[in-house]
Symmetry: C2
Subunit: 301 residues, 2 copies
């Protein structure tokens, strides 16, 4: 585990700190294997399940992370993806030895295609990108790393999509016996986790929200994630699309860091609550860096 | 020294390795203070000269690096810059407490303005961005870091402008008693160092070459740098502009790394000589990340 997963990259920028009025410790997963934190989950899962074939549905980072993990571990990986997926994402899965099963979602949903494959591979393990204890435990490694930093951290700020990352970080911090507070950064357009916290139970979006933070486009958080987040997360900040974009550009301009829109959620959340974080030391998790150049070039303009 | 200078950021990318056919260890200085390796030089210089005022001319990374170093050390820093410099660069010097002396180069050259300031501040230290023993010794810290890597390195590949970086790396490696070969990556449009090696003496460009790698726009390498490079550098690869651009885009696409054109020279050189580096472990120094968004967005398209 320790040798396969790359330690997170700690980046600090005086320019960024001065701009934001707090001490920002960037924990960048953009240089993790396959370019996002998802490799922590994918590798831990592929290593610990006994099955030799793993099925999943993903149009993004989890697919290539799991494919590469399976390649390293000599397992078979099948990823159901919409046939409209960017070619670069399909190629990434295939180049890491995965089988990309493309489905025309107008004719057959990803879930329906996955159900077919489950019948075809009855012995396979079916992996969720967030609602899985191996995923949460894989992501816990990042929480443990943050606890190991020399600098004392007041808050960890991390994106919330399905809740796999934040629940993992909370578990990792707990394992170290520390009490660092974890704050979630969720797109306002996809605020199901925030609404769930308010309601006291899981609330789902009616449809997949089309936030620019495509890693957070989920219907709802998972029940395993909810069990941890319900009492473990300090709060969730709802981040408007504009702040996600500003966050991405600030990272480009002031920290020389390329990230994907989902990765900019934590900086976007800081921009929402300057008083809350003023003068604090905030570890902002930058979850991934895989972004289409055509989208990125617009965002840095 | 050790506490002020941030360790280089080591990044590895399976996608990049597979594309280039060798084992690339990126030593990225894009996350160094002020966004480039120049802070190593600036800090070492400001710390070791006895003068409290330091004068230099720079339109780029050395100016802001020296300004921040002086801010940290409580010294006064004056940077002569062309009045046509990008506002972001002028602001960077000023935000780090430096005095930006703008000169309209059509009326008065940077050198002429510097001469005036030397008369005005007779007790000041006049710093060259490369031809200075404190600069070379500051950059040597990167050579020592590379020697400390767990992995065995066959070649270090680093940009050549004035020769301050490569000469420093060579010195640092020598200090560690190692024999890692250093290869220079110089823009073909600004190939004075390469021609100097062939001629056996310093050869100068007739005018400042307008390569996209603006950090390498110098008339010639310095004599202190030459004394080290003449016998210490393995070879210099002349990199066409096209390969510099491709290198920058490969770092964006395959390694999630934002860099400035000068920083992409080492990957550009790898592209020039695939057979020479095939199967080797090559530490590519990515010298800096400060690039105008309008230039960057064109290069990643």
């Amino acid at each position: 585990m320790k040798n396969a997963i790359r330690p997170t990259t700690i980046i600090k920028s005086v320019k960024l700190n001065r701009h934001l009025g707090c001490d920002v410790v960037l924990a960048s997963e953009t240089f993790q294997h396959t370019g996002s934190f998802k490799f922590r989950a994918g590798y831990n899962l592929a290593k610990h399940v006994e099955q030799d074939t793993i099925l999943t549905e993903s149009s993004g980072n989890f697919g290539q992370a799991l494919a590469y993990a399976c390649q390293l571990l000599g397992k078979k990986c099948i990823v159901v993806m919409p046939s409209t997926s960017a070619q670069v994402k399909v190629d990434a899965v295939r180049n890491f030895g995965g089988i990309a099963e493309l489905t025309d979602v107008k004719v057959k949903s990803r879930r329906a295609r996955l159900e077919e494959l489950i019948k075809e591979y009855p012995d396979a393990y079916v992996a969720s990108a967030y609602n899985d204890r191996h995923v949460i435990e894989g992501n816990a490694s990042l929480g443990r790393e943050i606890c190991g930093l020399a600098q004392e951290i007041n808050f960890v700020l991390a994106p919330v999509g399905g809740g796999g990352l934040t629940s993992g970080i909370i578990e990792g911090i707990k394992q170290c016996g520390k009490r660092i507070k974890v704050v979630g950064a969720e797109p306002k357009m996809a605020n199901d986790a925030s609404r769930s916290l308010q309601a006291g139970h899981i609330v789902a979006n009616e449809q997949e929200p089309q936030t620019i933070a495509d890693g957070a486009r989920v219907l709802s958080i998972g029940n395993l994630n909810w069990a941890i987040l319900q009492n473990g997360i300090e709060r969730i900040i709802e981040v408007p699309e504009e702040n996600i974009k500003t966050g991405l550009k600030l990272l480009f301009d002031l920290a020389n860091l390329k990230c994907e829109p989902t990765g900019a959620l934590s900086i976007g959340a800081l921009l929402c609550e300057p008083n809350f974080f003023h003068g604090k030391t905030v570890c902002c998790v930058i979850s991934g860096g895989n972004v289409d150049p055509s989208i990125y070039k617009e965002l840095i303009s």
